[in-house]
């Protein structure tokens, strides 16, 4: 299996290169199940936290351990944007984004209680990989629609095209699928 070597804050990994769609393969970062890498990334991100940050927002699910670890290190609370409306949610706020890679619509959801934790606050978005930016764009709009101010975006990697609106610890190229 083809792999791609990365180093994050001194921790090395060989990421498997996997096909995710027609004609495109990605180096697969999986923080779920990798506490060492998660903690190293969180430590490096904590040093890059924008001034005045008050709350972290992260999409479920792969970046959740990262958000938790960053919350422990910075003392800032975090909110998870869910991908489905749960029956127990109180006045949820939703936004639909279309993934450019899969073409499928993706829902982003904030529970009403979490809206109150974001409104009027300086928000930092935390994600594992920012690729096309469709999730990022949806999150940004969702946060701003409930009165939060996005003051920064922290990611472990940007992927594909470099971006200047994301503070990342590294960059991943896209790959051609193997035959």
């Amino acid at each position: 299996m083809k792999t791609y070597p990365v180093e994050i804050a001194g921790v090395r990994r060989e990421l498997p290169v996997v096909q995710v769609g027609d004609g495109v393969a990605v180096a697969l970062l999986n923080l779920l199940g990798d506490p060492e890498l998660t903690e190293a990334a969180a430590a490096a991100m904590a040093e890059r936290l924008p001034q005045g940050a008050e709350v972290l927002v992260t999409p479920e699910v792969k970046a959740v351990p990262l958000a938790h670890a960053l919350s422990v290190r910075t003392g800032l609370p975090y909110v998870v944007a869910r991908k489905t409306v749960k029956p127990y949610m109180i006045r949820p706020v939703t936004r639909e984004v279309v993934s450019i890679t899969t073409g499928k619509p993706q829902l982003l959801v904030l529970d009403g209680a979490d809206v109150e934790r974001i409104r009027g606050k300086n928000v930092v978005i935390v994600d594992d990989v920012v690729s096309t930016g469709s999730t990022l764009k949806g999150l940004r709009e969702l946060i701003e629609s409930v009165g939060g101010r996005v003051v920064g975006v922290l990611a472990v990697f940007t992927e594909g095209s470099p971006r200047d609106d994301v503070t990342a610890l590294g960059h991943l190229p896209l790959f051609q699928p193997e035959e």
Binding site: G33, T38, V61, V64, Y88
Partner: protein, 180 residues
């Protein structure tokens, strides 16, 4: 559903007044939320670590609300962990698929485990970790999945057991929460 009433939930030194939600007519449960509650997760992980079987080699859990908990427990106990997913991902290869007969709102779930992760479970002594167990259906499905991946389940841990105990397995839990 109206959810103005709250119910006090305590884990170690952390108390939360959580909303009481009516999941079925006439049945209300305190809604515990670990996602986004750093302090609660830290306390629960610290206490669960003391209940973890000594010979445990790997922790096995599922997305999403148990993820911060199992991450922190893995870190504290210096053990690896694996998380089953609730949706198929494009990158999964030859995944193990396990149905969950869930009682929660009559909806059933499916657990997905990528073969690459299943291989980590093989021949390991596995402790299952969840935030809340109610009927035990999800815990059973997780156990079945661990067995199918070649793991030996030696422990089942939860922070909360919700309602009267229905789960016919050995479950270690920290606290009970009522169904009102």
């Amino acid at each position: 559903m109206t959810t103005l009433e709250t119910y006090p939930i305590t884990v170690g030194n952390v108390t939360r007044h959580v909303p009481l939600v009516e999941t079925l007519p006439g049945m209300r449960i305190p809604l515990v939320e670990f996602l986004g509650d750093t302090e609660l997760v830290e306390e629960a992980a610290r206490l669960l670590k003391e209940r973890l079987p000594e010979e445990t080699e790997l922790l096995f859990s599922l997305e999403c609300s148990s993820v911060p908990l199992v991450h922190r427990l893995a870190q504290l106990s210096e053990l690896p962990y694996v998380t089953a997913r609730k949706r198929r991902r494009a990158y999964m290869e030859d995944p193990l698929i396990q149905e969950v007969p869930s009682l929660t709102l009559g909806a059933s779930d499916t657990l997905w485990l990528d073969r690459r992760w299943a291989e980590r479970i093989m021949n390991q002594k596995v402790a299952l970790v969840m935030d809340v167990v109610s009927s035990g259906g999800t815990m059973k499905a997780l156990e079945r999945l661990a067995h199918r991946a070649g793991g030996q389940v030696i422990g089942r841990l939860a922070v909360f057991q919700q309602g009267k105990r229905q789960f016919n397995g050995e479950l270690v839990y920290l606290y009970e929460i009522p169904i009102l």
